[in-house]
């Protein structure tokens, strides 16, 4: 490459590097460092060639030297800028950490606000429901005297609690009797009059003798004959204790039969 064109290229490159300011400092530093390397090599080669050929070329050497000095100055300036950028970078890192911390705080606050909103929404809903019920109660208001009268009427018929001197058989009691249950709608639905007499009657109702005979329950254990008749006849011996010698005869029969069979077989032989 002719030296003139090389020098021209290097100058142009330098101008481009200076003009394009949006290139990163790293790229510019590396570029200037490459220039420095090329220029210093060129200068040394030129000097070595001129020494060997004894041909002084002061014009070109001085041009390259000027460029070298210029690029070296640029390199130092860029290194200074890079040094400053390093400091700014540290500050930026601190700022980024602070921004992350603020982000965390904001997220925490947002979470708390959402929780508060939920709690408040629930409280408002409950308060509205309560207001509704208050309004409803206000519309259908009943005087306290009326309520007390009604309470007296209920308690006078022993519908709330039994009298203190209550004894079995006394009809004054808070819960309904069996007959009352049966005469009610529930009793009619489930047909308690036919199926429900199996041991659930209270003893006082029986003692009072208020049930008709048809409805009086008949329990198996109340009559010995009944229980015996209920058992099937072929099972009657299963539950009876037999004397120890009772099966002896059967066993002897079996032995006799086996003896007969053996003798008959021997006879056939």
């Amino acid at each position: 490459m002719p030296r003139e064109s090389f020098l021209w290229e290097v100058e142009c490159l330098g101008d481009i590097v200076m003009a394009v300011s949006d290139r990163s400092t790293k790229e510019r530093l590396l570029s200037v460092l490459d220039d420095l390397e090329v220029l210093s090599r060129e200068l040394i080669e030129m000097l070595a060639l001129s020494r060997s050929q004894k041909l002084p070329q002061p014009g070109e050497e001085s041009q390259i030297l000027e460029l070298l000095v210029q690029r070296d100055g640029e390199f130092q300036e860029l290194m200074r800028i890079a040094h400053e950028q390093g400091k700014v970078h540290q500050e930026m890192q601190l700022l980024e950490k602070e921004a992350e911390k603020r982000d965390t705080d904001i997220q925490q606050l947002q979470k708390q606000l959402k929780e508060a909103e939920h709690i408040l929404a629930t409280a408002v809903y409950q308060a509205k429901e309560k207001l509704k019920s208050i309004e409803k109660a206000r519309k259908g208001s009943v005087s306290s005297e009326e309520v007390i009268k009604y309470a007296h009427r209920i308690s006078a018929s022993n519908a709330v609690c039994a009298p203190l001197n209550w004894v079995p058989g006394d009809p004054r009691r808070p819960y309904p009797t069996d007959l009352e249950m049966r005469s009610g709608r529930l009793g009619q639905m489930s047909n308690l009059s036919t199926n429900g007499v199996n041991g659930h009657l209270p003893g006082d109702a029986l003692a009072a003798g208020r049930l008709p005979e048809v409805l009086t329950p008949q329990y198996p254990w109340q009559s010995g004959e009944m229980s015996l008749n209920m058992l099937p006849p072929n099972h009657s011996n299963d539950f009876m204790l037999e004397p120890p010698g009772h099966n002896k005869e059967n066993e002897d029969d079996v032995e006799v039969m086996s003896t007969d069979s053996s003798s008959s077989s021997s006879d056939s032989d």
């Binding site: 400092t25 040394i44 070298l68 130092q76 890079a82 950028q85 700014v88």
Partner: protein
């Protein structure tokens, strides 16, 4: 980007290559045998400078871009601080006294 300690970086004035070039020219003038050694020094210096540039933090942007980014970050932090202050100082649960 990992930040390397700035203390290890040489001062910008130590980055000049001219003293080494001058030493080489001086050796050539004297026909000294140390010229190869001086040449190696220059090569090593250039290589070290290249490695240092690659590892330097914060020079992936131009100074203008970095400044812009720095301003953006400051603005971001300021906005977030204001937002937090605003929410913390809100008295939304204050009941007006009748």
């Amino acid at each position: 980007m990992a930040a390397s300690p700035l203390k290890e970086e040489p001062a910008p004035e130590d980055c000049s290559l001219l003293p080494l070039v001058y030493d080489i020219i001086k050796c050539m003038d004297k026909d000294s045998p140390d010229v190869h050694q001086e040449l190696n020094k220059l090569k090593t210096k250039i290589q070290e400078a290249r490695e240092q540039i690659v590892t330097m933090p914060g020079i992936g942007l131009s100074p203008e871009q970095q400044k812009q980014q720095f301003e953006n970050l400051k603005e971001q932090v300021r906005t977030k601080n204001e937002l937090l202050q605003k929410y913390k100082s809100l008295c939304i649960f204050d009941i007006p006294k009748s």
